[in-house]
């Protein structure tokens, strides 16, 4: 079994346990182990990439330096953590002057970006391969009209992230198609959900995330697939007063169902599981 060193991050231990659980379960089903790294800490979230404050970059540099002890690559899941860690690894390689200061401060060990950071989507696309996933999808989700939602941190800035076209990405759609879904096209796929404004300005979330959900809905989506716990939180928050909200699920959960995993193994609650099941053209076959 191919093993990848894996960084979960804080959200995946609290609000987004289901993301963590479902990703690991999918990994198992695909013959890919996600091995949690030793001694990880908070990535520092949005503060980290302030160009003029090196202090905030001490944390992610420590994470990457520790991960390097175990492997030369690190897989992330949360789009926010991915953005921070990937950009930190690139900055560490490129900006020697800054890195020297950070290394002086961190003391633990000298780190100059000797690690590659991958998002799980990249691992599935580039190493596992969507073709392989297609053959391993025991219960393809034929005709499930899903909206892939990327948000901003997964793709931008493109110069550093290099994951997909920042304006017209296809990676999530390609994954969804490989497991039989029918991803819909809608214009808000790469708009910002509002990020941390859910704390100081929830009305902004209402507008930004509300527009995204509305756009997906009016283009025929029955659910939205995300790769970031904060996006999921905001998209759900914007529908607080909606009696029949659009379900928001992680890509690992949809993938898991296609791979024949159970509701429990994917951390899906009843309403989400039901939402997926009820929209399938052919019923899910229980695999013994």
């Amino acid at each position: 079994m191919q093993s990848y060193l894996y960084f979960p991050g804080c959200s995946l231990r609290t609000a987004a346990k289901d993301f963590d659980v479902s990703a690991k379960a999918c990994g198992q089903a695909l013959g890919t182990e996600l091995k949690e790294m030793q001694g990880w800490l908070c990535c520092g979230a949005v503060c980290t990439n302030m160009p003029d404050n090196l202090m905030t970059q001490a944390g992610p540099n420590r994470i990457l330096a520790r991960a390097r002890r175990e492997s030369n690559s690190l897989v992330t899941l949360c789009a926010g953590c991915h953005n921070v860690l990937k950009r930190t690894s690139i900055q560490a390689k490129r900006n020697h002057e800054k890195q020297e200061k950070i290394n002086d401060f961190n003391e633990e060990e000298v780190f100059n970006g000797e690690i590659n950071v991958y998002h799980l989507l990249e691992v599935l696309r580039d190493f596992v391969g969507f073709d392989t996933i297609k053959t391993k999808a025991k219960t393809p989700l034929q005709g499930l009209p899903v909206a892939a939602y990327y948000g901003c941190l997964l793709l931008r800035p493109f110069r550093e992230m290099q994951l997909d076209d920042p304006h017209r990405p296809t990676v999530i759609e390609d994954l969804l198609e490989s497991i039989g879904c029918s991803p819909i096209d809608y214009p808000s796929r790469t708009e910002c959900c509002g990020s941390y404004l859910s704390v100081p300005a929830p009305e902004t979330i209402q507008r930004l995330s509300g527009d995204i959900v509305q756009s997906a809905r009016s283009n025929g989506a029955k659910m939205i697939v995300v790769s970031c716990p904060l996006c999921k939180y905001n998209l759900e928050l914007s529908q607080n007063h909606n009696p029949s909200p659009m379900p928001i699920v992680y890509f690992t959960q949809v993938l898991g169902i296609a791979l024949g995993l159970s509701q429990q193994e994917l951390g899906l609650d009843d309403s989400h599981y039901h939402a997926i099941r009820s929209n399938l053209q052919t019923p899910i076959v229980k695999v013994a």
Partner: protein, 652 residues
């Protein structure tokens, strides 16, 4: 021992403001080898030059050092002065105490000390200078012009009309270039074809111009005044002298492909005439798209032509190779548009109603696909709301082009105005970063557009274009009101930037004309030699050198032509004699120098096994001299002995 004079220029306060000239003259005069040391407020002025001239004559000087500005500025001035005063021009050296001293230092004492050393070095060098005579090479008095757009046309006409033979090499089936595609030209709105057409005809009829269409440069050998150029001319398969443009062949051709002239908005056949005013006025067979030249494969065009009793079409025609000898090369290869599909935020190539400015231009043209009426490609309806996005993919160093294409502010204003004239109840929106309307009558033209009814200028950029319910939704920002805006548009026009024509990079390496960071041809000096490539004998015209509009292109083309004519004006050419020289006794024939020469000026004589320098090709860079392990190669007037003397002068 040589009798040396030192002359120090104040350059007003440019030098004297920092360097203590009085002290410098005093110091210089102390040298045992210095016969005279003097200064003048402006040495380059006539009284200043008179001082030098009189000193040379009265003091019987053998050599002079002029301590003044950069040699790039006045070396020629003072060498001419030395020559006209009866001295060999190579007995004059410039000590640059302005750019390399007074302008970059603040402290007078150290600056003066440094100026003194610079002068001492020049004195040591000039003491060992040889008197040299210029090298004379013959000039082939013919010119090749590459590119048949307005730049190439203008340059070719100017040279040909001065009585010299011109080969005009054009890679497509007709001359005319981009300008032929335009409808009206800013700021006067005169019809582009109407002003270009007569020039195209003039080229065709000119006795001194040989037009080679469907032709490209394959090889350039030789040097300024003596180039040997190999041109490959593809077969047109239609005899341009016989063809009377009846068009019967086109009617029967079964192939349809997008028409480049209409930016792909219409279709053309595989045998076609590029456009009505094409020069030469003859059909051409596009062999890449033809079903096959064998009569068995198709041959319908030939049958149709033969049926009329003509025999214009020869399917057995072969490409021709022309070996041309010319004295100068004018590169006028022009531009093409940046690939708009790269700008995925605007959806070009995905939404049919998002088009490039050149496609919109074709629609506005009376000879265009819609006879001048703008329409939506998706449904053929006349658009009411049109959004123009300026700087599309430009001034974006991180993701697209870093530079400004200079003409887009103007043509977008023109497009918006023409659209409004054709659709009076329509509304045009122009998103801009800032308006760059530098040019005669340009600002006034843009002002007129901005004040026109039904035309709204919004300062800001567009983040995204997407389609919803048959309309294009344009999400942008108006930075003047500080608000985001969304416009429901029928049509979006992208002002994409200019990039060098495909193939100009290859042409650059073939002809050794260097390119800049953006792939345009580099000029020898951005201000003082904008018409010349750093490689002598190659001149630049038009948008192949940098984005520019028609007036500027025409001006540069005439300028490049006059540079070429300057070369043609004499049967021989004088080159600087400060070139590399082989001391045959020292040369072991090791060949290290051969690949080190960037100008391919060095070869090894097979009989004597000794390196030889072609003085005509040598640019005097000195690379070979530095690489030679036995000291056989020396650069005239920059020998090892001179270098060591100059270094010792600083050490002291």
């Amino acid at each position: 021992m040589k009798r040396v004079g030192v002359f120090v220029c104040h350059c007003g306060l440019n030098i004297a403001g920092t360097v203590n000239v009085k002290e410098l003259v005093e110091q210089a005069g102390k040298g045992s080898d210095i016969v005279v040391a003097a200064d003048h407020k402006y040495l380059c002025s006539e009284p200043g030059q008179a001082l030098v001239r009189d000193s040379i004559k009265q003091q019987r000087l053998d050599a002079i050092v002029v301590a003044a500005c950069s040699p790039a500025m006045h070396e020629v001035t003072f060498k001419n002065l030395a020559q006209s005063s009866g001295m060999n021009r190579h007995q004059c050296e410039i000590a640059n105490i302005r750019e390399q001293c007074s302008w970059v230092h603040e402290d007078s004492i150290t600056a003066t000390a440094k100026a003194n050393l610079i002068v001492r070095q020049a004195v040591e060098k000039v003491k060992l200078n040889e008197s040299l005579d210029p090298i004379s090479v013959p000039v082939t008095r013919r010119v090749i012009v590459v590119g048949g757009g307005i730049a190439g046309i203008r340059a070719a006409l100017d040279i040909a009309s001065s009585g010299y033979q011109v080969y005009l090499v054009e890679k497509t089936g007709t001359i005319g270039g981009r300008m032929a595609q335009l409808s009206e030209t800013f700021p006067t709105l005169d019809c582009s074809t109407c002003i270009l057409g007569p020039l195209m005809v003039e080229v065709y009829r000119h006795p001194n111009i040989k037009l080679l269409r469907l032709a490209q440069i394959e090889e350039v050998k030789g040097f300024i005044g003596n180039f040997k150029v190999r041109v490959r001319q593809e077969a047109a398969f239609v005899d341009e002298k016989q063809c009377n443009s009846c068009g019967e062949c086109t009617k029967v051709c079964p192939v349809e492909i997008p028409n480049e002239f209409d930016s792909g908005l219409t279709w053309r056949k595989a045998i076609y005439v590029p456009f009505a005013q094409a020069v030469p006025p003859a059909y051409v067979l596009d062999v890449k798209n033809c079903l096959g030249l064998l009569p068995l494969a198709c041959g319908e065009c030939k049958k149709a032509c033969d049926k009329l009793g003509m025999s214009c079409i020869n399917l057995d025609a072969q490409p021709q190779i022309h070996e041309l000898e010319v004295g100068a090369i004018v590169l006028a290869t022009g531009f093409q548009l940046y690939d708009a599909t790269q700008l995925s935020e605007y959806g070009y190539g995905i939404y049919p109603n998002v088009m490039t400015s050149l496609e919109f231009e074709r629609m506005l043209s009376a000879s265009g696909p819609t006879s001048g009426i703008p329409i939506r490609p998706s449904d053929g309806r006349v658009p009411r709301d049109v959004v123009f996005i300026q700087c599309a993919g430009q001034r974006e160093p991180e993701t697209a082009l870093p530079y400004c294409s200079k003409i887009c502010c103007m043509y977008t204003a023109k497009h918006a105005m023409l659209f409004h004239h054709k659709v009076p109840d329509g509304q045009a929106y122009v998103f801009y970063m800032d308006i760059r309307a530098g040019g005669k009558g340009y600002e006034e033209f843009v002002k007129r557009c901005q004040e026109e009814k039904g035309l709204l200028y919004l300062r800001g950029r567009v983040a995204k274009v997407y389609e919803e319910n048959g309309k294009l939704m344009v999400n942008g920002v108006d930075t003047l009101s500080g608000k985001t805006v969304q416009i429901k548009a029928d049509l979006v026009v992208l002002a994409v930037g200019m990039i060098p024509t495909l193939g100009s990079h290859e042409l650059g390496s073939i002809s050794k004309a260097s390119m800049d960071a953006n792939g345009f041809f580099a000029e020898a000096h951005p201000k003082l030699r904008p018409l010349e490539s750093p490689t002598a004998g190659i001149f630049l015209a038009g948008a192949g050198q940098a984005p520019k509009d028609i007036p500027e292109t025409v001006a540069q083309a005439s300028g490049a032509a006059s540079k070429a004519l300057q070369l043609m004006s004499s049967p021989t050419l004088e080159r600087e004699p400060t070139v590399a020289h082989v001391t045959e006794e020292f040369c072991s024939g090791c060949r290290i120098c051969v690949p080190s020469c960037p100008y391919e000026a060095i070869s090894v004589n097979p009989k004597t096994e000794v390196a030889e320098v072609s003085a005509a090709l040598c640019e005097g860079c000195g690379t070979c001299a530095a690489s030679c392990p036995s000291g056989a190669l020396t650069l005239r007037n920059m020998t090892d002995a001179q270098m060591l003397a100059m270094i010792s002068a600083v050490e002291r």
